[in-house]
């Protein structure tokens, strides 16, 4: 609150009357409201996508699946059991789990049209044995090399499939979208600043005669700037408040609908406490930016007058 007078300067009531009271009559508050709403929605999308990308990245970065395709089912089962046991004991592995036959059949059943795992056709398929291995945090490449060596020893011919290989592109796409959203936030911030600059210049043009008279009777640039800065900051604050309320309503609506999505990648998207805090801070930062932009524009313009 200590910085509030710098953003919306205190100006005596009698001085405020130097500018005619035409609050919200111009387009500025409305344009700022639209830009603020779009900025907040883009920021929310960016934060959600970035968090989703990070969640996916965390989930896939440390997991590999070993696919044992040995033809003899008894040998295959022995190799899977041995790999699960030895990998689970390795210091670089947090956990190793053999994917059960029923789990495999259930997954396949979804694709092949069989409702249950007791389909004889499904059971007759020569399915590989799968072992999921989760690494502990650390140097991934070295851990992967050690696992490959272990697999080559326990189950020659088995394939090691890092999840990052097939889910990585999706995570990269989501991360790219998050960057695009971030760029949109930046562009709209610049557009908002441009609107404030134009507003400040238009205000100076409209009230040039008053400014000239104020100069002649000894007003300082600081006095004149405070007068206009206050007016522009308040007008902008109205716009920012309006845009924020509309954006909050849209986010709550989307959030309510999103809460029904519980599967797949969509479930990984959320704003988190830090995200909500950032979104709450954005309108305040926008008001401060508008006031600073107005102040600098006004001071620069006044310096051109003697």
């Amino acid at each position: 609150m200590g910085h509030l007078p710098m953003i919306i300067p205190r100006v005596p009531v009698q001085h405020r009357r130097l500018l005619p009271d035409r609050r919200l009559s111009g387009p500025t508050p409305w344009v700022i409201a639209i830009l603020m709403m779009l900025t907040l929605l883009a920021a929310a999308a960016g934060i959600g996508l970035a968090r989703a990308a990070n969640n996916i990245g965390d989930a896939i970065a440390g997991r590999v699946t070993v696919q044992i395709v040995t033809a003899n089912p008894v040998t295959r089962a022995e190799q899977a059991a041995a790999l699960t046991r030895r990998a689970g004991a390795a210091p670089y592995v947090r956990g190793a789990r053999q994917v059960g036959q029923d789990e495999l059949l259930a997954t396949l059943g979804q694709w092949l049209g069989s409702a249950g795992g007791d389909d004889p056709v499904l059971r007759s398929l020569p399915l590989p044995a799968l072992v999921d291995v989760d690494f502990v945090g650390g140097e991934r490449a070295g851990q992967l090399a050690q696992l490959r060596a272990l697999v080559a020893e326990v189950a020659p011919g088995a394939r090691v499939i890092p999840h990052a290989e097939w889910l990585g592109p999706v995570a990269r796409l989501i991360r790219s979208l998050a960057w695009v959203a971030g760029a949109l936030v930046l562009l709209m911030t610049l557009a908002s600043a441009a609107v404030v600059i134009m507003t400040a210049r238009a205000a100076l043009g409209t009230h040039y005669a008053t400014i000239e008279m104020l100069h002649l009777i000894g007003a300082t640039d600081r006095q004149i700037t405070r007068l206009f800065q206050r007016r522009i900051a308040i007008d902008t604050a109205y716009g920012i408040a309006l845009g924020s309320v509309v954006a909050a309503a849209i986010m709550l609506l989307i959030g309510w609908q999103w809460s029904g999505v519980t599967s797949g990648l969509a479930a990984t998207a959320s704003l988190g406490a830090a995200g909500w805090l950032l979104l709450l801070a954005l309108p305040l930062l926008a008001i401060a930016l508008a006031a600073l932009t107005a102040r600098l524009t006004l001071l620069a313009a006044l310096k051109k007058i003697l």
Binding site: P12, Q14, H15, R17, L18, P20, A209, T210, E212, M213, L214, H215, L216, I217, G218, A219, T220, D221, Q223, K303, L306
Partner: protein, 231 residues
Amino acid sequence: MVEFDRVGLRYGPDAEVLADISFNLQPGSFYFLTGPSGAGKTSLLKMLYLAQRPSRGLVRLFGEDLVSMPRHRLPGFRRRIGVVFQDFRLIPHLSARDNIALPLRIAGVSEEDLAGPVGEMLSWIGLDDRAHAFPPTLSGGEQQRVAIARAVIARPQLLVADEPTGNVDPEMAMRLLGLFEALNRLGTTVVVATHDIHLISRIDNAQMMRLEKGRLADPTGALRYPPANRV
């Protein structure tokens, strides 16, 4: 109080609108600035009330060189100068009272402290009953009186008036001149630019400065070297 020494002024690349202007204004004196239209009267006044810096020459005001003075120091000097314009230049959305109070408010005088002087000023110009009227509802003479009151309320040391009687009838012109004379008797140096030759003859001891084609006619040298400065 005011010293111009070989002052020249040009706007952009054009020829000088004022050339080799030299004079020395004495404290408490009354000056009329005359000359045909386009002679440069308004340009000269602009330099006097610090709305324009000269292109060359020396300008000293209240003992300080204004040519090289940094811009941030100018407001302090402007508060010691009152300006009256032919077109009044009142702020239309402020009442007569608020227009008059403006210089004191800008100088940081509290509302309590300015109430008395503003009331006295309204009485002095005979507009007590129009204190809350807005300029568009005032007659030309009333507006000019408000403009004069605004110019003098902070008790300036120098009062500059650019054709102050140009938009009022002869009777009102004489009343306005009476206000200037009263202020001059209180010690304010007054410079009035006018075309009205009858006005000039009404003030005793007033000196005349005549501009022609951007040059100051001073055949006797009295403006440059006033009697008080002569050894």
